[in-house]
Amino acid sequence: MAVNTDQQPLVRLRGVCKQFGGVAAVHPLDLTIDHGDFLAILGPSGCGKTTLLNIISGFLFPDAGSIEIDGLDVTRVPPERRATNMVFQSYGLFPHMTVEQNIAYGLRVADAPADECKRRVAEMVALVHLDGLERRNVTGLSGGQQQRVALARALIMRPKVLLLDEPLAALDLQLRKAMQVELRRIHRSIGGTFVFVTHDQGEAMALANRIAVMQGGRIVQQGTPREIYDAPRTRFVSTFIGDANLLRGQAHGGAVTLAAGPVFAQAGADGPVVAVVRPEQVQIGPPDAVAASPDQVLLAGTVQDVVYVGTYVRFQVAVDGSELIVHAGSGRAAPVIEVGAPVAIWWSLSDHLVLPEE
């Protein structure tokens, strides 16, 4: 299989949309996926992410728009003739077949020679660490093992794009962490292109090199995990990816007045805005710790709750009716502040984002 080295993306969606019973599940959207990408389509349930995955796999045809895979238009090509393979959320293994037969099924359908079949099954079994279970019936396997069979069954087809639908949702926390590591290892070792759908932002951050955040049938932001965390483009993205403190305010004539009091200079259109600041960007100290300065936001509040998490201390601070979360210090360096104590909290203007209110 020749590796495509030119700059053309592997998958290109143009103006793809889908309605169910008059309700738009996916609004017209564009998306490109490059060779070697590990893309997460992230969003809450009902945001259209699974519909989008089904459109890429061919289980659904879009109402309008086109899909290209490796330069070929596959908009109306059914799943059995697409260079994509899917790992289903509920695995969808064939219960009447053994592990080996499950993995070999795609090659058997393609009438691959028996010796090639055998060799590639052995390769896959080794890749996903299923050694010794080849002749077991799949119904007797644990969830994690079934997940591996589903992965091997799809990967043996050497898909141009591997699609995963909430691949780890059915596993318990321990297993989920282990499978995250496994998936990264497998992605690295075969150098393929993976696209997965998830509602779990932690999973998206842990696995993907690129994230597309979906909301209400639209992709609201795409980028590396870092870009999305550091520079969320909307209020929704900022709260969906990681924790965020939101402070309402009004922009007027190049300045923003927060409802909680502080005023600071900020270019942008007039109207209601929201200032977004991550808990770890907020500093906390005694009421007289810092003096007010034009390049930072300073608020006075009362500590409501203190949780010693270990790597940091989580403070819940009441400020003028609303509550802010502050992650401070690490380990033993964490400041010791009691519940009920008056505090000052502050952050530098460069550490928050001002977004228009939605």
């Binding site: 796999s57 289980f59 059914p78 799943p79 059995e80 003739r81 994509t84 393979n85 899917m86 289903f88 509920s90 695995y91 969808g92 293994l93 064939f94 219960p95 009447h96 099924y105 795609g106 359908v109 393609a110 589903a150 069954r153 799809a154 087809m157």
Partner: protein
């Protein structure tokens, strides 16, 4: 250990009934089939003569009976599969309604259905009168009733809803995702049907086949009422041996020959299906 003993205790009553009412009489008749009737008395010398008589003198009705039973079982299983498949995969939320309708027809009862077909196929039946009214024929056709065809239709009509249930039950246990999975791996709809759906409902198909085959092979009321003089089904003849002919040993031999053939036919059907679906035996 207590749990083990408890389990056997629960089985005891049904095992008792089974031994007393099934195994014991059947063993008696098996023994009887090796005896003879000599001048209206049972002669207890062991002999295989009855079985020779069955194959020699009754071969025609034996083969006729099983040909009819096979025809009934195959057509009923095929029709029931089509119905169950439609209900499971195509009918959507109307599926349950269709199953309910199939079950309701069971209320009709066995004898009722026989008389229904007598009414439809008879000399002055609905079929003849309709054809005459339409001017297709001038006088009633007697060919509809009292022939093997009428037996097959009547038995098939009775067995259909019974045969639907096992197949529908096994089809319902098939999950949707594996079917999508197979298509994703390159299988056409036809291959999905053969590789994924059929192997998973094999047991249901064999069960429906066995049910209809056994019933059709053992039935002696339907052939008497709609079969006419040429349709000498084995059930009718066996009944005669125990009744008017006073030859219970021969009747028993016929019955055991029939049981043997049934086991053989159903076993072969299962084996054939396994071969066809490449299921390891």
């Amino acid at each position: 250990m207590i749990a083990q003993r408890g389990r056997y205790a629960l089985l005891a009553p049904s095992t008792g009934v089974f031994l007393l009412c099934f195994v014991a009489p059947l063993s008696y008749f098996l023994l009887l089939s090796f005896y003879r009737i000599v001048s209206y008395q049972i002669d207890t010398t062991i002999t295989g003569e009855n079985y020779i008589v069955v194959w020699r003198d009754y071969f025609r009705s034996l083969s006729f009976t099983f040909a009819i039973a096979l025809a009934v079982a195959l057509s009923v299983t095929a029709l029931a599969f089509g119905f169950a498949f439609y209900v499971r995969f195509k009918a959507g939320r109307f599926g349950i309604l269709l199953i309910f309708v199939a079950l309701i027809t069971l209320f009709g009862g066995y004898l009722t259905k026989i008389y229904v077909w007598k009414t439809i196929l008879g000399q002055t039946g609905i079929l003849n009168t309709t054809l005459m009214t339409l001017g297709v024929i001038d006088e009633p056709i007697g060919l509809f009733l009292y022939n093997p065809f009428a037996v097959i239709v009547t038995l098939g009509h009775y067995l259909m809803p019974l045969a639907v249930l096992p197949i529908y039950g096994s089809l319902r246990n098939i999950a949707d995702t594996p079917l999508r999975g197979a298509r994703d791996l390159g299988a056409s709809r036809w291959r999905v049907f053969f590789d994924i759906i059929l192997p998973q409902c094999r047991i249901g198909i064999v069960f429906s086949f066995a049910l209809s085959f056994l019933f059709a092979a053992g039935d002696y009321v339907t052939p008497l009422l709609v079969g006419g003089p040429y349709t000498s089904m084995l059930g009718v003849i066996i009944q005669l041996q125990f009744g008017m002919r006073f030859n219970a040993p021969l009747g028993a031999a016929m019955a055991f020959t029939a049981i043997g053939i049934c086991i053989l036919v159903i076993g072969s059907f299962d084996l054939l299906l396994r071969r066809l679906l490449r299921v390891p035996t």
